[in-house]
């Protein structure tokens, strides 16, 4: 397919040149012909440039995947599939098991989702159904979108300075060891960070619900809440799910904020208040220290897993969205 396109581009660019070329072969070139020859030449160069940019994008992603796979080969060879289920991560003794980080990533992400879903759905319903227009909803919409704009390292620093002491006193209140940093704190920070993704998608999906459906329900005497609950939400179910998936994809890959407040210990977390590590945070912490091939390669394999998981989640989310918007 690629070669076909390439030929098409060349043909489009070249065929006029052949015609003018046969004229100018015998006669003296006029200025106008020179000018149009140059234009035709530039056009074919431009088309080829655009084509190269298209190829570049594909090559970039394939290159990322290829690099990750090649660099994690030593670890895959040395550790096999047991890598993912190994419960101990101890680089000093050359033992590499990724299970604590898988667990840490899943715990933080899903806990963050659970906390953030009521808020992001509420924003979606409020902006999509209750008040789609006006200055106050506009302000809310823009403010929620700004949540996504704040750099994650700033969330991490704020979490370290403000949230950690709060969580620490909360922990000592309920009889947990008062560490402050840990899975729970990371989930709190993450839940703030991922609100805008599900919220903005939810809003646009809810706005797309056809009004005749809503009006039919109203005409039967339904209250607004009943319309939301039994008409709107069932209709946008898949769209909301896609929004949750996109939030999840963001939470899984989030690095800096989590690294700063999770505590960075490589054991299996005993409770949600215990310190731990996620895949992203262990890479951030140990990548520049990894001095052995297998150690480094094990970290890259974590990156590869992270890459594949987020790609799959994002692709499913995008697929659902495009199906929803095409209906």
């Amino acid at each position: 397919m690629k070669t076909f396109e390439n030929e098409a581009v060349i043909a489009r660019g070249d065929s006029p040149r052949v015609i003018t070329g046969s004229n100018t072969g015998k006669l003296k070139k006029t200025n106008r012909e020179k000018h149009s020859n140059r234009q035709i030449w530039t056009e074919s160069v431009f088309r080829r440039l655009l084509f190269i940019m298209g190829v570049l994008m594909v090559v970039l992603v394939l290159g990322i995947m290829f690099t990750l796979i090649v660099q994690s080969v030593p670890s895959i060879k040395a550790l096999g599939a047991g890598f993912l289920w190994g419960k101990v991560w101890d680089p000093v003794r050359d033992i590499y098991g990724a299970f604590p980080f898988l667990l840490g990533t899943l715990l933080t992400s899903f806990l963050a989702l659970a906390i953030s879903i009521p808020f992001s759905f509420a924003v979606g319903i409020f902006l999509g159904e209750y008040y789609p227009k006006g200055w106050l909803p506009d302000l809310l919409k823009n403010t929620v979108e700004l949540i996504a704009a704040v750099p994650s390292v700033i969330y991490g620093f704020w979490g370290l300075a403000v949230l950690v002491p709060i969580v620490r006193s909360f922990e000592s209140g309920i009889g947990e060891p008062p560490i402050g940093v840990g899975i729970f704190t990371s989930s709190l920070i993450l839940s703030i960070m991922i609100i805008p993704y599900a919220a903005s998608l939810g809003r646009s999906m809810i706005q797309m619900v056809p009004s005749h459906l809503k009006e039919a329900a109203y005409s039967l005497g339904a209250t607004r809440w009943e319309v939301i609950k039994s008409v709107i939400l069932p209709y946008v179910k898949s769209g909301l799910f896609a929004g949750v998936l996109l939030s999840l994809g963001r939470a899984l890959g989030e690095t800096m904020a989590v690294t700063m407040v999770i505590g960075n210990t490589s054991g299996i977390p005993k409770s949600i208040f215990a310190p731990g590590n996620t895949m992203a945070s262990v890479i951030a912490n140990e990548f520049t220290e990894a001095d052995r091939t297998v150690y480094l390669s094990a970290l890259i394999e974590l990156g590869l897993v992270l890459f594949l998981v987020t790609v799959v989640i994002n692709m499913i989310g995008k697929k659902i969205i495009s199906r929803f918007t095409n209906d």
């Binding site: 397919m1 690629k2 396109e5 234009q39 035709i40 056009e43 431009f46 088309r47 655009l50 940019m53 298209g54 570049l56 994008m57 594909v58 970039l60 992603v61 290159g63 990322i64 690099t67 990750l68 808020f119 992001s120 509420a122 924003v123 409020f126 209750y130 809310l140 403010t143 929620v144 979108e145 700004l146 949540i147 704009a149 704040v150 750099p151 390292v153 700033i154 620093f157 704020w158 370290l160 300075a161 403000v162 209250t223 809440w225 890959g253 989030e254 690095t255 800096m256 700063m260 992203a280 890479i283 951030a284 990548f287 520049t288 990156g303 890459f307 790609v311 989640i313 994002n314 692709m315």
Partner: protein, 284 residues
């Protein structure tokens, strides 16, 4: 009478209750953001003065010092990233909007979707193997390229979406005058969509300005002032990360000041983009 009315009243009450719940939850999202903004600005604004902007950090124990190296480093790294990503991104977006049905465009679009979701730390790893290891050391240009990879999907997407909305008649009018393809694109289509393209560019710069993870293994950080593209370079997010996790109060102060500057820069860029997109009526 009462018995007949009570279910209706109950339903009306339920309706009002849930409306209240939705409003309460929706607006409580804003609270953490406001807390963060207020806290960072309060903690940071007092640290910012002229010396803070023009000095490099002092060693632990000496008070004073500033973040000049990180400010300059951030500007250089972002500028180089923008110079790399903007032309490629815009041309890529033009390609996607001009070739909507071709097979390559389908795969390129898929790649851009994938790239948008790739965790930033993974980009850091890849940039390390592409640019740091082969050339034997951390360098600011490798950080710029990592950030350029993160910018690319945003620029491509906004360019494509903007150009797709332009009516075909514009394009056809150009061709009817005998303009060659590149002139139609560069003199008609791109100028018509320039507002949307620019908004995308600004959003992408706002996004990479705060990125830390791709820089950890590429630009690496540097306690001294450096302008060399082939040497390690400090940047604001790296400085915040390194100093915030350090145990020294002097360094925390530097990190608060740096957070304040970074936050204000990113928010102003975002708000500015929102205002001009509304003024220019572009859809992103």
């Amino acid at each position: 009478m009462k018995a007949k009315n009570s279910p209706v009243r109950f339903r009306i009450g339920k309706n009002g209750f849930f409306k209240g719940v939705v409003i309460a939850f929706a607006f409580s999202c804003v609270i953490p953001l406001l807390f963060i903004l207020a806290y960072i600005i309060k903690a940071g604004i007092t640290k910012i003065n002229w010396n803070f902007l023009v000095n490099v950090p002092k060693p632990v124990g000496e008070s004073g010092g500033g973040i000049a190296n990180a400010l300059l480093g951030s500007i250089i790294i972002i500028a180089v990233a923008a110079v790399i990503a903007i032309p490629i991104g815009i041309l890529g977006g033009i390609y996607l909007s001009e070739n909507r049905k071709s097979k390559l465009a389908y795969w390129a679009r898929l790649s851009i979707d994938i790239l948008q979701g790739v965790p930033s730390i993974v980009i850091g790893i890849v940039a390390y193997f592409w640019l740091v290891k082969p050339f034997g050391g951390f360098s600011s240009v490798s950080g710029s390229i990592a950030l350029a990879i993160m910018m690319l999907p945003i620029v491509v997407r906004s360019t494509e979406e903007t150009l797709k909305l332009l009516p075909d008649t514009l394009r056809e009018a150009g061709f009817a005058l005998g303009m060659p393809f590149h002139r139609v694109v560069l003199k008609v289509i791109v100028p018509c969509g320039i507002s949307g393209i620019l908004s995308g560019v600004m959003l992408s710069i706002a996004r990479i300005a705060g990125e830390t993870a791709p820089l950890l293994f590429t630009a690496f950080g540097n306690p001294y002032l450096s302008t060399s593209l082939t040497k390690p370079m400090q940047s604001l997010p790296l400085l915040i990360f390194n100093y915030a996790t350090s145990p020294y109060n002097d360094w925390h102060d530097l990190a608060w000041g740096a957070s304040c500057i970074l936050l204000i820069f990113v928010l102003v860029l975002n708000i500015f983009t929102k205002i001009i997109t509304r003024k220019w009526k572009v859809q992103l």
